[in-house]
């Protein structure tokens, strides 16, 4: 593993940590963008160009903007007086630490039997398109329906209550 991997992982993990720890929600959203970008770079380093650029388009481009919109619409940029962490923060932290301990233990135990450096897979966007239109066409259609339903649902859920009350 080269230096590049460590630098990218540092940005991804550091961005995630900052997103969770920062008190101001707008700063947290910006840190989240850094984490998403670092993850996209990790995807690119894993020779998954299509997934990496989808990650940049969907997460850095859309989800981060949605989060910022939601923060500004809910006055979330103001730091609450009673603090940003819940009363049961210690339990949550202990559960997260336990999950990480179990995962890391499993990975480190299995590490000697994991496959080592393999040849770069010869996969280009053409193959991905063929797979999406061939073997994975049914999931693709279901995802299309899911996205349509989810976006309509999001609009209806976030619509003003007054307009619906006026109609009925």
């Amino acid at each position: 593993m080269g230096l590049v991997f460590y630098v990218i992982s540092f940005f991804a993990v550091g961005g995630a940590l900052a997103a969770v720890l920062l008190k101001n929600l707008v700063h947290a959203a910006l840190a989240l963008t850094i984490a998403f970008f670092g993850l996209a770079l990790l995807f690119l380093r894993l020779d998954a160009q299509f997934a990496g650029f989808s990650q940049i388009l969907v997460y850095v481009g859309a989800v981060a903007i949605l989060v910022v919109f939601a923060i500004l619409l809910t006055k979330g940029s103001e730091v609450p007086k009673q603090g940003v962490f819940s009363k049961s923060w210690f339990t949550g932290l202990a559960i997260a630490a336990g999950v990480f301990a179990v995962l890391a233990w499993a990975v480190l135990r299995a590490a000697p039997s994991l496959p080592n450096e393999t040849a770069t897979p010869a996969v280009n966007v053409n193959d991905i398109g063929n797979a999406l239109m061939g073997r994975y066409v049914l999931p693709l259609e279901i995802i299309a329906v899911l996205l349509t339903v989810a976006l309509l649902g999001a609009v209806i859920v976030a619509m003003h209550e007054k307009e619906r009350a006026g109609q009925s």
Binding site: L25, L39, T74, G92, L93, V107, P121, A150, G153
Partner: protein, 103 residues
């Protein structure tokens, strides 16, 4: 350590950070951010296993990750719509104050 193991450790770290964020923050938007981080960590696992797995040309892990990105986008849209709707109704986005099923 093999490259796959280091990617898995990074993914486990990001997953644990996201879980801690989802469990400890008060603001509903921060809970959603934690969930997004956890989904991303799972995607990193899928891509890493695809890259170092026995048959990368079958594209299974890659397809899983791409579909998971699409599902996560839908989840983020609906989740943030719900947060805005609840905020308009209860005038708060603090999950500890949202303790009633009845409006």
């Amino acid at each position: 350590m093999t490259p796959l193991a280091s990617y898995l450790i990074v993914a486990a770290l990001i997953f644990a950070i996201g879980l801690a964020g989802a469990l400890t923050r008060r603001n509903a938007i921060m809970v959603l951010i934690g969930i997004e981080l956890m989904l991303n960590a799972a995607n990193l696992n899928l891509i890493a296993f695809w890259r170092y797995g026995p048959h990368p040309e079958l594209l299974s892990g890659m397809m899983f990750a791409i579909f998971s990105i699409a599902v996560a986008a839908a989840e983020a849209a609906v989740g943030l719509g719900l947060v805005i709707s609840i905020y308009r109704h209860a005038k708060t986005s603090d999950v500890e104050e949202m303790n009633r099923m009845k409006g």
